[in-house]
Symmetry: C2
Subunit: 208 residues, 2 copies
DNA sequence: CCATGCAGTTAACAACTGTTCTCTGTAATT
DNA sequence: AATTACAGAGAACAGTTGTTAACTGCATGG
């Protein structure tokens, strides 16, 4: 199925990934719109001109980073929302998954939170598109819950959007508390869980 | 009461405001971390070195912009949350106020949304502090509603935080739809209202 | 009325940026 | 084995950046 890459292509992808990794690291302390291409190549240890073999511009690299950060997240979303158990169990599980994801990929999460409203339009667009896909997937998953009986499509999507937005707010809150003491991080988790639970309660009493 | 400023101080404040205005304009298409001080002074028409008479750095200017954008917003928050009427009326009024605010001060709103998670720490901190103040004020206002009977302080604050976050999400959504046709903007308003209503319903059924 | 303070100017600096063109080595193709 | 394709290097470009220093003119306070 998957064609084994030649030495040539393999090395190219390696450099490309090194550029992405270096950029992600540099972006922990600045925004994409201030990231210079020379800065990135310097961090990797290649000539500035090598950058052009992989990306047209830093904006282009940013779009690639969006794919890397969000593209592989769909399965996780899927089985978070469609998991078994009652609402409270699902919420606990979801918040826990978010927390673990932030711990494992803090730079990715920071990048998304930062560039969602950032200064580079193509990147904003790419993030918006991915989040819209998430919302759509969440909507489909929600529709299969028995609680969704009588809900129309528009309201399901508005609820899904609320969940996705809150997921990001929670991730961002975890990120800010990453270096904080355990007690603070647990407080963040408690708050996020309760907010999700309140939304969930609103969902159950939406009709009638 | 207010001491009339001398010609000298008045001119200084005028230049300072011009710098703030020019920066805010430039920040519509980039992030603060890529805003150069020369860029700002060039837009105003003063020498680059004049910048230092007013701000230590662009980060410092950013903090001043946070005050300008959020500092004067407290009264509006206050009377939105504590207004008379049942929940639905309050929600309609709040969403309408947000929409009007975004139309009147789009650059301010964009700046806050962008820099809340942006690349400049002092600015992030300033925004976080202001939003925490908002949440505290909303909490106090909520506590006076009859619906808040039996609520403890922690839960009131978590609800207030949810409202504040959603207020910002709504503002950001309005911002993205600013140039869109009326139909789209109305759709955004509908979604924001319904999401707030769902939260409000969750609030009413939170206990027991 | 004169001396001081200070907003804003001018000039210069070393360092940095994105981009172009030319070149090199080597993997891939024939 | 000879040829081609192409990832990356190297050098040079015009333009930009933040910051320093010494200055000028004028409103202010004595």
């Amino acid at each position: 199925m998957s064609h084994t890459l030649g030495i040539r292509q393999a090395q190219k992808q390696k450099t490309r990934q090194a550029l992405l990794d270096a950029a992600l690291g540099l972006l922990e302390e600045q925004s994409l719109s201030s990231l210079g291409l020379r800065e990135v190549t310097r961090a990797v240890g290649v000539a500035p001109t090598a950058f052009y073999r992989h990306f047209r511009s830093t904006a282009d690299l940013g779009v690639a980073l969006v794919e890397e950060a969000l593209g592989s997240l769909h399965p996780m979303i899927e089985d978070t929302v469609s998991a078994a158990g009652d609402s409270d169990e699902r919420i606990t599980r979801a918040v826990d998954l978010i927390a673990r994801h932030v711990e494992r990929y803090p730079a990715h999460v920071r990048f998304i939170a930062r560039e969602r409203h950032g200064g580079v339009q193509p990147v904003r667009d790419a993030i918006r598109e991915q989040l819209a896909r998430f919302a759509e997937e969440v909507k489909v998953a929600l529709a299969e819950h028995p609680e969704s009986e009588g809900w129309n499509d528009e309201d399901l999507l508005m609820l899904a959007g609320l969940y996705v937005d809150h997921m990001l707010m929670a991730a961002s809150a975890f990120l800010e508390a990453l270096e904080a003491p355990e007690a603070e991080r647990e407080r963040v988790a408690r708050t996020a869980s309760r907010q999700m639970r309140l939304i969930s309660i609103g969902r159950h009493h939406w009709l009638g």
